[in-house]
Structures are given as C-alpha cells and as structure tokens.
C-alpha cells in the first residue's frame, strides 16, 4: 500500500477519501481542507475524524457545558478547573485531591468484562496523569430490567471486569450504585469514578513547552485495540484486494497499569516531567495534539519509533490505536537518563518518540516521510460546535398531568407486606453479591464503603484528614423534569456526604443521554446542564470536570436522562464521622426535614407500574441549611448515626439502618402512613441520638430552621412500625435474597 504523505496529498487534491465512513460531515471535511490548504493525508483524516467525533470533541454538548464556566461560583478550594484531565481541589494541610467520573457505556455492552475493565483503567490514568496517587474508585451502574436475559449477560461480566481491574490495581472500591430500568436494556451504563491524592506542589498539567524537550511514550506497547472505523483507511482506499482488518475491542492489563502507576509516581517524586498526558480515547492522536496545543504549539513526532505489539499496523492505525496503559510525558533532555532508569527498574517499555519545537505545527513522520502536518489546536480544541435543536417533548405535558395515585396502606399486615415487597425489589435489594467482588480494604485507609451513603477515605494517617464522595442520580425525576432533576441530584450527593460529617467542596458529573439528534433528548440535556449549573452556583460548588455520553439509545427509545452527579467533600477527622447504621439500643430516632406527598417517580410508584406526575422542586436554600446543621451536629458529635432518605423513602432508610448491625427500631408514625413510609420528599435525614443530646439537636434545628420530628426509638430484634412487627431475620431474608437469586 502506498504511504499517503503530505507531499502526496498536496499533489492529489481530487483523491476520494472516506470521510463519511469515518463520521465526518462534508462541511467538516471542507473545513479541514481549508485549515490545511490541501486535502488531508489519510493519517490526518484519521486524526481529525476521531478528535472531532462526539466522544472527543463534545460538539453537541459544548454550547451547554459552557455554563459550568460562565456560572462558576467563586471557590477558594479549586486549584485546577475544567479543561485538564481532571479537576483538583485543595483540602488543607498541603493536600490536593483530584477526582473525575467517566463513562464506558457502549464498549461494556459489546464486551462487558473488558468494557468495564478498560473504563476503570482509563479513569485511573486520568487521575494519575494529574500527578496523584489514585486512592479509590466508585462505580454507578445502570441496567435493563433485572430479570431480562440481556441483563444476565452483561451484569456479571461488568461487575467482574470492574473488580478484576480495580482489585489488581490495588484500589479500594468505596461506593457506587446499581439501578435497573427497562430503558437501559441494550444500553447499560458503566460510569467509573476515581479519586487521587497528592501534595499541592506536585500537581502536573498536560502541556508541552520548551523547545528541545523530549516527547516520551511509556507503558504498554501499541496494538490494534479499538481502532474501529479507522480500518477503513488501513484497508484499501486505493482499491486493492487483501484482508480487511476488523475493529478490535480494547483489552486491558491491570498488572501493566499497576506497574505504570508505581513507575510514574517515582518519576513524579523526582520531578522529571514538564507535562504529562495519558492515552485514552483516540490514543496518540489525542495525546500529541492536546499536549502540543496546551503548550507552546509545536511538536515533531517520529511515529515509526512507537513500540508495537503488532508489527503489521499502518501509521493510521498506530495513530488511532486505543491500546491501554500508555502515557506520554514531556521530559527535559537532562532528565531523560533518570527517567529511563526508573522505567527500567519497573520493567516499563519506554521510548523517546519526538520533541517539542518552537514552531506551531504538529509534524509526524513515518520513516522520514512527513504524513501529518497540522495546527494542533484545530485538532484538539477547535472541533465543530453544533447548536442542536431542542424542544420540550410531548410526553412532558402528558406526564405532568398524571396523578401519582399510589396504593395506600393502613393495617399492620399491609405495612409488613409492603415493606417486605419494597426491600426485596431489585433496585432496593441488598447488593452484597456485587460489592463483595470488590476489594474495599486495600491501602488500609477506607473508612466508609458500600452500603454507606458515601465513600470515605483517610488521607493523612497522623491528622486523620479525609475525603468523602457520593455519586447520585434520579433518572425518573430527570425524565419528568430534567431541570429540577439535576438540582435534586446535586442536593442529594452533597447531603450524602454532609450526613457523614464531610463538607462538600466540588462536583464532577457524567451525563448519560440518548441521541443528540432527537430534539426531545437535547431538551433533556440542556435542561439538565442548566439545572446543574444553576444549582452549583447557588450551592457554591464548582464543577471541576466530567464526561458526556450521548447515543445511549436503541432505535427510537432513549434511556432515561441520567445525569450522574459526584460530589467530593473534606472531613477534618475521619474518626468523628457519623456512621449510618444503628448500633445501640435506647437511642431516640428523629427525622430532619418535612415530609410531603412526593410519589411521582418514586420506588413505591415504580413497583406498582405507576409512572408520570410532577417530581418535587429542589429547595436549595433549605438543603444548604440542612447541610450546615449536619456539619454542626457532627462537629459536636451529637448524632450516634444518621442516614439520608432517597429512593424508597423512610421504609428503605430505616431498613438499611436496622440491618447494618442488626439492632432494631420501633417507629410511631401518626397520620398518613403511606406518605410517611414511601414518599420521597428530598432534604430529609433520619438521625439516632442519645436522649442527652436531644435538647442540643432541637436547638440546632431551630437555628437552622429545619423541621425536626421524633419518630421512634432503637432496640430489639425487629422493625416495628405502629402495629406492625417485622423480625430482623425476616427483613434481612427479603432484602438479601433477590440479587443472588437473579445473578448468582
């Protein structure tokens, strides 16, 4: 096959190129020709097509995501904001924490184990590349109906992949969630979050500066992983015969990544890199163009120097390869010897593949022939920006008119039956079958993990400084009112970490939606982003970064809009955190926050097949006062335990509290029992307090203007609600049987 060089492209303007098969529109192809002043070479076409794809360029979402910048609240803690590989916040005592969440949805549908595994690998590298030691992971997951055959195909593989990769890296899995809904059939969601820690002065950025500095590729060798549609180029544009390469799924090797982590951290500790970038989606194309455009503008790369696992790869394929566990560093010449030594100690493949120049072009050669000559910013940052049309879909008017008439319960047998039914439903059931496949102990700093409200990790072993993270989304609320739904999700995540005693600091988000070409979906997206941006401003929590996943739909049925919000917070002393479960009898149970009739989108409505209605409105001022109250109470160690209310309402919250340590509770709930037990009014927390603390808690509730109502006491071996009694063993049996029966 003839190499398509720049010289060749300059003299063959009329060459037909498969830009459409690579996902480029004809006006985009034209624009590339204008940028270059000639037709692109096949390598340049490959680079632009991948970097200008939805996944890499955010072309459909950019116009809306800008709000996170324009509406950004002032934050003293924010050290690195949107635009880098991950956001960074200062947490005090000289520490910086970086965190981010990303999706790997489509690959996980195709190959569940490797799709999920490489999703974990990718987000971990994003954190590593900021200069941090990764310290924990979390995984919010969504699947089709629990008893659907395809769920049984994908769920075990995805869980095994997350565990297989994360455990081997030595990262404790400290949280996440699993939600089943039929709209995710064919489009499971695998969102992976990673947190890392470093000293503030050790933050690393992804920029290439300083002419003469070296571009160094290290980590795994390069093969044909994930080259996808680029094989169109690798095969015969020039119409010859021969075997066509098939797109390869990305396959991960966690051992290589573990070694890469240790090697990189030693390199960082000796201050040997000027800039660093990991190779994720779009591999080398992305790393080189992003490093160059963020730096002083010019870079020369000798592509033939890239160490290959598969020597038959063409230059286009090498540029597009998504082989895992690779990083790209900018290293000053006087430091390269030591860099190479450290790589040798860890047996990590390392190659100098180029250098930073004082020009403003990215030049890539193949055995001396120039095959890429582009302005890097046009590849990495100046991709197309779409203003996709959006319009409120017709279902909104219908669903808001529907009344959530849910079944009412009154008698003792009805109460018991209802609770047992709800705790056994797949969304509410115990998920230990899943979470026991994850190591939560490694690194020895895990304070809270599933099934707690938030994950919490100790950062300093002497001062007990720690961080807490929660990820939340309520897709049914987002479906019914995406603006309020996003606000409510932010409030819930912040409330979850405040419940344990951590102060919210920053936000990440993974926005999972259907097709952006559907104006109704685009409307859900625009409303969700606007809602989140408005809520972040009101709650003074900056968005530090995140991810967008579009096209989660099969045919014309999109998934429920699922914006997953992650909030990170800091706790001064993890020993003082407020645990979730009840472990003492004789405590008094109170509920903070008012309960109204909020059944739209609730679990109670869902298990009875009732859809539609109007979800609650987010009252962020009240949520913020509640957070202040929770933090103040934690400071004074007033709560023996606390657990927030969300899906499933009080019924689920109290169930989880009593089953944690098998200490029961007796509740006396006057009035509308259905509302008490199953309403999902936001901004509520159940607390268990010593009788001696009641006066102080009442005073706090007064000053923070949060309603406080006594609901019962702790103790015994049953959950008693008014006249109903459910033994803890019966409750536990119902709670723990469902998931193993479905997937074990």
């Amino acid at each position: 096959m003839v190499l398509d060089t720049v010289a060749n492209a300059a003299k063959s303007a009329d060459q037909v190129q498969p830009f459409a098969e690579l996902g480029l529109k004809s006006d985009e192809y034209q624009r590339i020709k204008e940028i270059l002043g000639r037709r692109p070479t096949s390598s340049e076409l490959a680079m632009y097509s991948v970097m200008w794809s939805e996944h890499c360029s955010y072309k459909s979402s950019k116009v809306h995501l800008r709000q996170f910048g324009t509406k950004a609240p002032k934050s003293d803690a924010l050290l690195v904001g949107i635009g880098e590989n991950a956001g960074v916040v200062g947490i005090g005592q000289g520490y910086a924490v970086t965190f981010k969440i990303e999706s790997h949805n489509h690959p996980s549908f195709i190959e569940p184990y490797q799709g999920a595994a490489t999703g974990v690998g990718g987000i971990v590298r994003d954190i590593l590349t900021m200069g941090a030691r990764p310290i924990a992971v979390m995984d919010p997951l969504r699947f089709g109906a629990a008893d659907a055959p395809d769920t049984r195909r994908v769920l075990p593989g995805i869980v095994a992949g997350i565990g297989g990769y994360g455990n081997c890296l030595g990262l404790p899995n400290i949280g996440g969630e699993i939600v089943f809904d039929e709209t995710y059939a064919g489009n499971p969601l695998v969102n992976a979050l990673c947190v890392g820690v470093m000293k503030v002065e050790d933050i690393k950025l992804a920029k290439a500066s300083g002419a003469g500095n070296l571009v160094v590729l290290f980590g795994a060798t390069t093969g044909g992983d994930g080259i996808g549609g680029v094989s169109v180029l690798a095969s015969e544009t020039f119409a010859s015969t021969g075997p066509t390469k098939r797109p390869a799924v990305q396959v991960g090797d966690p051992f290589t990544e573990k070694v890469l982590i240790e090697c990189s951290l030693e390199i960082f500790a000796e201050d040997l890199v000027i800039g660093i970038q990991d190779l994720g989606g779009a591999g080398l194309s992305c790393a080189t163009s992003e490093l160059a455009s963020a730096g002083t503008g010019g870079m020369n790369i000798k592509l033939d120097k890239v160490p290959l696992r598969d020597p038959s790869l063409s230059p286009e394929e090498i540029l597009m390869s998504e082989s895992q566990e690779r990083m790209c560093a900018i290293v000053a010449p006087e430091k390269i010897a030591r860099f190479l030594e450290i790589c040798e100690k860890w047996d990590v493949t390392v190659t100098v593949i180029g250098e930073v120049t004082d020009g403003d072009r990215l030049l890539i050669t193949w055995n001396g022939d120039l095959i890429v000559d582009v302005p890097p910013r046009t590849v990495a940052h100046e991709g197309p920006v779409y203003e996709r049309p959006f319009a409120e879909p017709s279902y909104i008017a219908q669903s808001t008119r529907m009344k959530s008439e849910v079944p009412q319960i009154n008698s003792a047998p009805e109460i018991s039956a209802a609770i047992l039914k709800l705790v056994a439903s797949p969304n509410m059931a115990d998920k230990s079958w899943v979470t026991s496949q994850y190591d939560k102990y490694v690194q020895g700093n895990t304070i809270q993990a599933q099934p707690d409200d938030s994950g919490m990790v100790r950062v300093d072993e002497k001062s007990f400084l720690g961080v807490a993270i929660s990820t939340d989304a309520n897709a049914r609320w987002s479906f019914l009112d995406p603006y309020e739904g996003a606000k409510l999700a932010l409030a819930e995540a912040a409330r979850n970490i405040a419940t344990a005693g951590a102060t919210p600091l920053a936000v990440t988000n993974c926005l999972n939606f259907g097709s952006p070409e559907d104006p109704g979906v685009m409307w859900q997206f625009e409303r969700s982003v606007t809602g989140l941006a408005d809520a972040c401003l009101e709650m003074s929590l900056p968005v530090t970064g995140g991810n967008v996943s579009f096209y989660n739909q099969t045919g014309s049925v999109a998934i429920l809009p699922t914006p997953i919000i992650g909030v990170l917070g800091v706790i001064q002393d993890v020993r003082k955190r407020t645990p979730m479960g009840i472990s003492e009898s004789g405590l008094e149970l109170f509920i903070l926050g008012e309960t109204a009739a909020d059944f739209a989108g609730s679990e109670w409505a869902h298990i009875h097949g009732i859809k539609g209605g109007v979800p609650p409105r987010a009252e962020l001022q009240r949520e913020m006062r509640l957070i202040e109250l929770l933090l103040a109470a934690n400071q004074k160690s007033l709560f023996a335990s606390a657990h927030d209310l969300s899906q499933g309402g009080l019924a689920i919250t109290i169930t989880e509290m009593v089953l944690r340590h098998k200490v029961g509770a007796t509740l006396n709930l006057p009035g509308d029992l259905t509302q008490w037990l199953f309403s999902e009014t936001p901004g509520r927390v159940v607390i268990a307090i010593k009788p001696s603390a009641v006066k102080e808690v009442e005073a706090l509730a007064q000053t923070h203007n949060i309603s406080l109502a006594k609901i019962g006491t702790t103790g015994g071996d049953a959950l008693k609600i008014n006249d109903a009694t459910i033994s803890l063993s019966e409750l536990s049996a119902a709670h723990t049987a469902t998931i193993p029966a479905l997937f074990g």
């Binding site: 966690p254 020895g444 895990t446 072993e461």
Partner: protein
C-alpha cells in the same frame, strides 16, 4: 525488631503489612524483589496482592525472584516467615509449604469479613492467640481454595499444622476449611485472610489481626 516486607511487581498490601509491623512495635524494612540483600531483617512478610498480575499461576513467577533465594535460605534456618494471601501462594509455589491455592469454588473474587478460629499457637506468628480463639479479619481473593493430596492433609492434621480454619460456611472450597498452615518447625506460616487489614477498627472489621505481628516480636525475644 526488623521485619522485612517484600514488594514484587504487582504487590498491593505491602504498605498495609508495614503499617501493621510498626503498629505492633517493630521496624518495617522494605525489600525489593530484585535485590537478594535481606538487610539484616529478623523476620519477613510476603504481603498480598497480584504479583506479576497472577500470570501463569498466582505466585509462580515471584517465587523465582532473587530476594526469594535469600529468604528461602534463612527460613530453612528458622527465620520467621509469614505469607499473606498472595504471599501464601508464593510460599506454596516455592515448596516452603505443602499444597497449593486454587480458584475459589464459586469462581468470584470474594471480599468479606471472615471469622477464623486459631488452632495452633506455637508458630512464630500465632504465639499471642489462644487455641480456639475466633477472630474477625478480611478475606479478599479469587484464588484462595487450599488443596493438597490426602497424605499431605493427614500429615497437616496429624501434626497439628493447621494454624487457622474458616468458621461457618466454606468461603472458597478449601479442604477441611483450612485458612492457614505452618511448617513442622513453626516458623513459616501461610494465611489466606489478611490480618494486616484488621489492626484498627477505624479501617477494618476489628483489631484482631494485630496479634500476628506482635507474636513475631515475642518470638524474636524468646529466640
């Protein structure tokens, strides 16, 4: 007392083992797999993890590391040696202990707080436990099923070389619920669950695991 903690490529729980050694009052000395120098340590811990990615078989490649040559030498001379999880796998591959660890019978990685019963408190690593004492420590592995032939099993049982057994349901299919064994001399112990993750109720299910590490300090004093 100087306790060496070995790091192979892919070892994960080395820092936790070092933390446990320090909490017990010892000095933790980091030992690199490629360096045969044992730095005058008095005892060695082979920690948990996925050394060499568990390629080929768990511990199969690690056992040939330069540091292992020195360790085997000294262990055969009586130096206390504890292999935890992956470390236990390395000890079996190196034939310092009999039997082998195979895939969990349910095929899943399993992380849970596990009750085990101590049955031998003569080994260097269990002196501070009572016989019959039940302790709660984390179990977290995919290949923890202890297997051996009938003759070996008879020997281990007959010579009272089972140091701990799982209580309750068998979590991984190990023969006779064996969670840990020792050699005839009592200085080399292999244990599947992780005592180093149970030294502080803040971060683990209990502090029951600390006594493994205080025991070896006592063993040094006694010897």
């Amino acid at each position: 007392m100087r306790v060496g903690v070995v790091t192979f490529p892919g070892t994960l729980d080395d820092r936790d083992a070092a933390r446990a050694v320090v909490a017990a009052g010892g000095q933790a000395i980091s030992l690199w797999h490629n360096d045969a120098d044992l730095k005058s340590v008095d005892a060695v811990v082979l920690p948990g993890g996925f050394s060499y990615g568990d390629y080929l078989r768990c511990g199969a490649i690690s056992r040939f590391a330069p540091v292992m040559k020195s360790i085997i030498n000294r262990a055969e001379g009586g130096m206390p040696l504890l292999g935890i999880c992956n470390g236990f796998q390395v000890l079996c591959e190196a034939h310092l202990l009999p039997g082998a660890l195979t895939r969990n019978h349910e095929l899943h990685f399993l992380c849970r707080d596990q009750v085990i019963k101590i049955e031998n408190n003569n080994s260097s690593w269990t002196l501070n436990y009572e016989i019959g004492q039940e302790i709660l420590i984390p179990l977290k592995n995919g290949e923890g099923s202890f297997q051996c032939d009938d003759a070996t099993l008879a020997q281990l049982e007959g010579q009272n070389r089972i140091i701990a057994r799982y209580v309750g349901e068998n979590p991984n299919g190990s023969r006779n619920l064996i969670a840990g064994i020792t050699n005839a001399r009592g200085n080399i112990v292999g244990l599947m669950p992780h005592p180093e993750h149970a030294i502080d109720p803040l971060t683990g299910p209990s502090s029951d695991g600390l006594a493994f590490f205080t025991s070896v300090l006592k063993a040094a004093v006694n010897s």
